[in-house]
Every structure is written in structure tokens, then in C-alpha cells.
């Protein structure tokens, strides 16, 4: 597996919304390189004929009935918000539309 570069770490940091300093980028690049090198071993045994498991146990079909339940009050919902305006969560300006 290829070594992980500083640029790749910068890309990962952008994707995961982490504002990292230059020093951190270098630091994490070195560490992630070691870790990824070590964990890449999984590919040795992961042959095509083995089905992947996303869950610990093979359970299926657990749903809830379509019934309305009590919601939080707006006061409870907004209690921990860093900023509130008109019973809404106030957030900094959004750069653009997504999805």
C-alpha cells in the first residue's frame, strides 16, 4: 500500500472538517502512514469468496410502528445551542448549497 502524504492528510482533514496546522499535518501524516501500513494486512486474507459483515449479529427487520410520540419542547431542543434566534438554531453563513 502506498505511503500517505501530507497532501492526503490535508484532504482528509478537509473532508472531516478539522482545521489542522501545518505542524499537525506533518505529524499526522507520519503517524497515519505507520498505522495504515500496519492495518493494510487485512487484505491478505480478505479473498473474494468471503462475504463482508457490517454487523456483529445477523439480525434483520426490526422496525417501530408509525406512531407519533412526544417531542422535546423548543426550550429543551435549543437549551444547549451556541446561538438561537426566533426559536431556530442560529449558524454562521453557509457557503453554498450541497447535495
Amino acid at each position: 500500500m502506498s505511503a500517505i502524504t501530507r497532501d492526503e492528510v490535508a484532504h482528509l482533514a478537509r473532508l472531516s472538517r478539522l482545521a489542522l496546522t501545518d505542524a499537525e499535518l506533518g505529524h499526522y501524516a507520519a503517524q497515519l502512514d505507520v498505522i495504515i501500513g500496519a492495518v493494510a494486512r487485512v487484505a491478505e486474507v480478505a479473498t473474494d469468496d468471503i462475504p463482508p459483515s457490517s454487523h456483529a449479529l445477523p439480525l434483520t427487520n426490526v422496525y417501530r410502528p408509525d406512531e407519533a410520540r412526544m417531542s422535546l419542547t423548543p426550550e429543551q431542543a435549543l437549551a444547549a445551542a451556541p446561538a438561537v434566534e426566533n426559536d431556530r438554531f442560529r449558524v454562521p453563513r453557509i457557503l453554498g448549497e450541497e447535495a
Binding site: 500496519a38 480478505a46 479473498t47 463482508p52 459483515s53 449479529l57 451556541p82
Partner: protein
Amino acid sequence: MSLTRNTAAELGALIASGEVSAVEVTQAHLDRIAEVDPQVHAFLHVAAESALEQARSIDARRAAGEELGPLAGVPIAHKDVFTTKDMPTTAGSKILEGYRPPYDATVTARLREAGLVIIGKTNLDEFAMGSSTENSAYGPTHNPWDLDRIPGGSSGGSSAAVASYQAPLSTGTDTGGSIRQPAAVTGIVGMKPTYGGSSRYGVIAFASSLDTPGPFARNVLDAALLHEAFSGHDVMDTTSIHAEVPPVVEAARRADVSGLRVGVVKEFAGEGYQPGVLARFREAVDLLESLGAKVVEVSCPSFTYALPAYYLIAPSECSSNLARFDGMRYGLRVGDDGTHSAEEVMALTRAAGFGPEVKRRIMLGTYALSSGYYDAYYGSAQKVRTLISRDFEAAFHQVDVLVSPTTPTTAFPIGERADDPMAMYLADLCTIPANLAGNAAISVPCGLAEEDGLPVGLQIMAPVLGDERCYRVGAALEKAFEDRWGGPLLKEAPSL
């Protein structure tokens, strides 16, 4: 003798019979916390007032003639990863400093229903990511056996609280060993139930397909009582199993292993294992044999791939689970000065609010899920997961339980592995397979390592929903060891 030395079962009986009051028991533990926690730092929040209030209501209920459960009035230390509506819930992270959730986790609610008295919230590695509790944003917890050493992690506050008699019981969550490893290195009992046997609702998620709440106690029966008190099906957690809680208390009382087939996992020995740990482990296996168990060696070849698979699956899930901590709806917000966009404020908040291990795992998981890398990393890790389940399945055709050391080494000094993530990750080498396959597994004390005099844990792994086997074997071993040692292992701990 101080009430802090009693077992939970004893305290429950004393309170139920009226010999002591819940308030007395709670106060004794609050006093103990005041005395030793400045050195141990097991607690992030001590809820003295609400604990005493809860104790008073238990006493009142008893006085009114109400029949109380076996743990009513018994104090418990609660890992700060479970939401509690009357106490802060931080997950050991700066990003949630002072956060008060508007709801109780299912486990929290069940503790309250059972009459347990929550005396405080315990320290942990930030978002339960770590094996030493050094990754807490609020400073490390110290091992009561040696204050310069780690108490294990991520549930290190909970293990240290119980090992230092600040509480007879505590809760933990186990994602890769976060209950069993701290229990092992502090000389107490820690159980990871079958995945889905205990509810994750209100557990601040680290890795959803692995996280499992479980109990800590100083003996096997207490752990079983607590296990029974908060486990079982929960409609709020889709992955919780719709089945009866296995008969764990009965098994802990039964405590016999005659005729039981015990498999020693061949792969968990050799290089990287401390000689004193292996010696104590072999001694424990011999003891099981002398108690009538049939011991065989079992090979689980894929277990050697469990660690790398875990360090792909857990970070992948956490990279997504922790996305919600963005400073928009709750918690820390950094950089909202009118010059930064929401996107920038999120990145500044997360950079300031998360510690290095959390950032490392988020980026590792982001990498593993990225297009172009998914198949080689996350996809392969999921296949290893299948192989591990198959190894367990094959093993449990031959034996009733599997055993191994809980950790390759005893508690290491604080700071020793802080800059070496890979070395830190090795602490979970033996505990991870049970998480990946969802099996039940327990750690029970099996003596002190020759070279450093620190506790060693024995891990007992059972099939899915075979939790009672862990307790049965653990209790039998505990009884035999205590006969040999003349009391519990913790008696050997230096007094604080």
C-alpha cells in the same frame, strides 16, 4: 469495617434488611471519594446531592414497606459516556464541556429503576477511544495499584473507582476491550455482554457495531447482579436482541466448571506477552483443569487479523458518528466572529474540541471509507470480521468457552505509550475478537505478575447469548483463587 469494603450484594442486603440506610452507604462512598479521588481522579463529576436525594428516596420506600431489588440503594459510578439528564455528559471531550443532555440513556434509566444510586460520572478516554484514559480532555486517571500507571481504558475512571473502593459497582462500555482491559489491569471483574444484550441508546457512540455497555465490580456475583439490572431488550436500540437476559446471576452463584470444555486460544501467546502475564494465565488454566474442566488448545487463525480489522472498522464508524459534533446545535463553538463561514466554524470547533487520538481516528476512518480505498481497507476489514465469527463458531463446536490473557501486559506507566499509537493499540490485542463477532467475554483477576506485582486478568469468551458461561467459569475461578489467596486479589493492593 467501612461500608466501602462491602460487596454490592452485601450492601443491597444490608439496606433491604434495614441494618444500614442507603444514605449511610452513599455518604460513606462520598467520603471515600473526597479522600482518595484527588489522587486517583476517577470522577469527572460527583453528584453528591442527587445521590443523597436518591438514597433518601430508597430509604423512604423501604420504610413504606416496599420490596426493594437486590441493588437498591447501592452506589454506582457511571461512565461519562452514558447520557444523564441531571448531570453533565462530556464523553471526556472538550467539545462537550458542560453539556447537559435532555434525556437519560436506557442504561441510566434502568440503573435508576433498579434503585442504584448514581454517585457520579467517571473519566474515560475521549469518546472512549483509548486504552489508558490518558486521552481524556480532563486529565488522566491513575491506577490505584500504582498511581504512576494507567488504569486501563477507555473505561479507566470506572475501573479505578471500583478498585479504589470509591464505588462497589460501575458501568463501562466495551468497543475493543474498554471494560475488560481496565478490569484486568486494576484487578477487578469487567464483563462485555453479548453485543445487543445491553442497550446502546444514550451511549455516546464510538463504533456502533461494536459498542457494548457492561458492568464492573470487585467480584463476579456483583457484576452479574449489575449485568442483570441494566441489560435486556430495548425498543430504542434496533440492534438490541429480543431475548431474555441470560441467567447470569444464577451462573455466578453456581460457580462450577466440572465437565466444562475450556479452549485455550493458541494465537494469544508468545512475542509481545509479558512473561509474568503468561505465567499467571497458565496457572489459571491449570486451576480450571484441577476444578474438573477439560482443557484443550484451540486455534483461531484469523484472530491475528482482528487488531488491524478493528483499527479500520472502529475508526470508520467513528469518523461518521462524531460528525454531529460540529458546534451548530450543542457543545463548543469556535470562531463564530462573523468572519467565518459555517464550514470554517465547524472545522475550527472540531480542531479545538477534539484531542489528538480522536482526530487521528477520524482521519484514519475517513481514509478507510474514501472512494478508491474502501474495498482494500473497510471492505477487507469486514471480511476479516466474517472470518473471526467463523473461527468462533468452529471453536464453540469443540469447547464451551475460550480463554486467553485479557491483555498482553500489566498496567504500563502513564505517558509511556502516549506518542506511539501502535504500541497503545496492542493493549486490545486479545479483547478485540469478541467485539468483532459480538460474543460475550469477561475478565477476572488471576493474580499478580511476578516482575511488577501488578494485576493480571484472565479473559473468558463465550458464544453469543452464552453470557452465563462467562460468569459460571469466572465465579468458579474466583472461588478457587480466593481460597488460595485467602481473600480477594484487591486485598493485595497498596492502601490509598
